[in-house]
């Protein structure tokens, strides 16, 4: 049984929105923001896979594989930075990092 593309997209959209909401709302913790971003990317991958299924081409799947690699490198980079920042400021709250503005 095939799931209609629109259903997939609606799910992906909800997922994406939730991820985005998480990223925006949970500003007190960078880690949580990163998780939100992950969720958003998962929504992207879901969409790609759904599209793949709809059109019967592997392109979307390849894209999502690539995205996984991208995600992991991004997270590693981000975590490295979190560690570094935490060491400097003993905080992972993004609101503490507002020395530049205006």
């Amino acid at each position: 049984m095939s799931i209609p593309l629109f259903h997939v997209l609606i799910l992906a959209g909800i997922l994406f929105a939730m991820g985005l909401a998480c990223t925006i709302a949970w500003r007190a913790n960078v880690i949580m923001m990163l998780i939100g971003i992950e969720i958003m990317l998962n929504a992207v991958m879901l969409t790609l896979v759904g599209g793949s299924a709809q059109w019967g081409s592997a392109d979307g799947q390849i894209f999502s594989l690539m995205l996984m690699a991208l995600t992991s490198s991004e997270v590693s980079l981000a975590l490295a930075m979190v560690v570094y920042l935490h060491r400097r400021k003993q905080s992972v709250d993004t609101d503490d990092f507002t020395s530049m503005k205006g």
Binding site: L20, I24, M33, S99, K101
Partner: protein
């Protein structure tokens, strides 16, 4: 003829420029001689031109400038009017130059003085000789400029400089009206040649002729110190006395009359214009005479009398009696120059005291001056058989003979003025020359004044016997009348001999009455009473007259003050406040908007993300709305 005319102009120009550029480095005698020689050189040219004169002649010397259809040649025009004026100007100015050599003997800045005098002669001659109006305008402005600097010759005194400035600006107002007339004439005819314009007046509708005439009248009013622009002339007496004699009595101030006479064929056809000229002239004549009654400064008396006498000339022009006006112009030039130069002698003798109430007894100290001055005063007063009598009377006669209600009313005004004139002339004579030598300490040596006094004599003779230039009809008719008559374009009604005699009788009686009144009031013992009175605060009427009917105060309140105040308002409120301030405020506003927009960048990542997401949401919302 070209040579004579161009030389007549060029010699004083050259003299003036030379004196201006290197005069300071020349020996004094050389500079002075140069200046005098220049003017007398001009005079010689004028005489030669007169001898060679056969009939009106137009001479193109060179091209001034030409832009498309606006061609302005440097063309000169010699006709009886300009010829007689040239002769008079060169002669009177020549005498005054000589006089100045002695009068200004103590002045260190002689080069500037003589340079300006020479330049003035040049400008005046080009005004008179000009065949096209722009050249006339050049002379017109040139004399104004020289007058400006000469009035303020003793520039370190603020009053003198102020007076020069006042004269320059006031006359400029009239000049501008003249320039409007020029522009208009060019628009109408495409030419500014006086001879051509004078021949084309009939092509114009009456309204335009009137307007043009009024504009020229405005020009003449400024230059000739007529109502309402007469305020500058009394103040102009701040200049050295020879300057007053030359510019503010004999020559420049009569330029307005000359202009109107010159353009009469064009503008004379409008009765509105001629009436306006006559009214202005009549009122000014009366105004000047009335003010002269109360003046205490010798030169101001003369200044107001000049205003008044030019009023007569205007009356003459207004009555269409160009010949009479010119006649009076010439004679007036002689006797008024005489009076001023006489006054100069007096003032020198009195150590620059100009208050007539502080003079006296000069009859004995300065006999030559006295007799010459008396001759001048007689002319001014219009005592019978003097030049002034004949010239003034020919104007009054023409006025009477014109026969309209207006001119006859003006005739009576003129008669009244004549009475006043006689009165103030002899008031002056009595106060200055009679009585005791109240303030005679420290008089100059006779020898200082003597050379100056000698200059008075030819002028006195000319003034007294100037009448022969244009004797009334019953004495065989005049030379000027036949000389100028055919050209002036106006044909005043000829008076019969009886009428003429009757009118002259009236005038003579009034003049004598005036002198008699002056004698009663200022002669003999009465003089001392007047001296006592003069120490008191003047009565309101006297003060009114003394201050020239308070015109100065009126203009100050109505024009000058508001102009000054508004200029400050325009600068500080409009320019700095609105234009600059507006721009600055706008810039400030833009800058503040920018800073305010910059505050969006709070530094919080969440805000950044939120804005980003909100922007995305809006974008998607729009796309969704579109695809619906």
């Amino acid at each position: 003829m070209t040579t004579y005319l161009s030389l007549m102009l060029l010699i004083p120009l050259f003299g003036g420029v030379l004196n201006a550029l290197v005069g300071r480095n020349l020996p004094r005698r050389l500079a002075e001689s140069l200046a005098c020689a220049a003017v007398w050189g001009s005079f010689v040219c004028a005489v030669l031109a007169a001898l060679a004169y056969h009939g009106p002649e137009k001479v193109v010397v060179a091209q001034w400038f030409q832009a498309f259809d606006l061609a302005l040649p440097l063309s000169l025009y010699l006709d009886p009017l300009s010829l007689s004026l040239c002769l008079m100007i060169c002669f009177v100015c020549g005498l005054i130059h000589l006089y100045s050599v002695f009068y200004m003997a103590a002045e260190a800045d002689y080069a500037r003085f003589f340079a300006l005098l020479n330049l003035f002669v040049f400008a005046m001659l080009s005004l008179v000789l000009a065949e096209n109006l722009v050249l006339l305008y050049l002379g017109w402005e040139g004399v104004g400029f020289c007058s400006y600097l000469l009035i303020g010759f003793w520039y370190t005194e603020k009053e003198n400089a102020d007076a020069g400035r006042k004269a320059f600006i006031t006359t400029r107002i009239g000049d501008t009206a003249l320039m409007v007339a020029l522009a208009w004439l060019f628009q109408l005819f495409g030419t500014l040649s006086i001879t051509q314009l004078n021949g084309m007046g009939f092509l114009l509708p009456a309204g335009i002729v009137t307007a043009l005439g009024l504009l020229m009248l405005a020009g003449a009013i400024g230059k000739s110190a007529q109502l309402p622009l007469m305020v500058w002339l009394p103040d102009a007496m701040a200049g050295p006395t020879p300057v007053s004699a030359m510019i503010h009595a004999a020559t420049m101030v009569t330029a307005g009359v000359y202009l109107l006479a010159r353009m009469y064929p064009l503008i004379g056809s409008s009765t509105v214009t001629t009436s306006a000229i006559a009214i202005v002239g009549g009122l000014t004549a009366f105004y000047g005479a009335s003010c002269a009654l109360a003046q205490r400064d010798l030169k101001r008396v003369l200044a107001f009398s000049t205003i008044s006498q030019i009023g007569y000339m205007m009356l003459g022009v207004g009555a269409g009696a160009i010949t009479a006006a010119t006649f009076h112009l010439l004679v007036h030039a002689f006797f008024k120059a005489l009076l001023f130069l006489g006054a100069g002698c007096v003032i020198t003798a009195m150590h620059h005291e100009q208050d007539i109430f502080r003079m006296g007894g000069l009859r004995r100290t300065l006999p030559i001056t006295f007799w010459c001055f008396l001759a001048g005063a007689a002319c001014l007063a219009g005592l019978p058989l003097t030049g002034g009598f004949f010239s003034k009377d020919s104007i009054l006669t023409a006025l009477w003979m014109k026969g309209t209600a207006l001119t006859q009313a003006l005739y009576f005004l003129g008669l009244l003025t004549a009475l006043i004139t006689a009165f103030y002339s002899f008031r002056m004579v009595y106060l200055v020359f009679f009585g005791s030598n109240a303030h005679q300490q420290g008089h100059h040596e006779q020898s200082d004044v003597l050379p100056m006094e000698l200059v008075l004599i030819p002028l006195a003779l000319l003034g007294l016997f100037g009448g022969v230039l244009d004797l009334p009809g019953y004495l065989g008719g005049g030379f000027l009348g036949s000389f100028l008559g055919p050209l002036s374009g106006a044909h005043p009604v000829e008076a019969s001999h009886t009428e003429e005699l009757a009118l002259q009788g009236v005038a003579a009686t009034l003049a004598l009455a005036g002198v008699f009144a002056a004698h009663v009031r200022y002669g003999g013992a009465a003089r001392d009473n007047r001296l006592q009175e003069s120490l008191l605060k003047p009565a309101p009427l006297v003060a009114f007259l003394l201050n020239g009917w308070y015109f100065d105060a009126l203009y100050r309140a109505l024009l000058i003050r508001p102009y000054q105040a508004l200029s400050r308002v325009l600068w500080q409120q409009v320019d700095e406040g609105v234009i600059n301030g507006g721009i600055d405020r706008l810039a400030d506003g833009v800058g503040s908007t920018g800073s305010w927009l910059g505050r969006w960048t709070t530094g919080q990542v969440a805000v950044y993300l939120l804005s980003f997401a909100a922007g995305g949401a809006l974008l998607l919302g729009y796309l969704a709305w579109r695809s619906l």
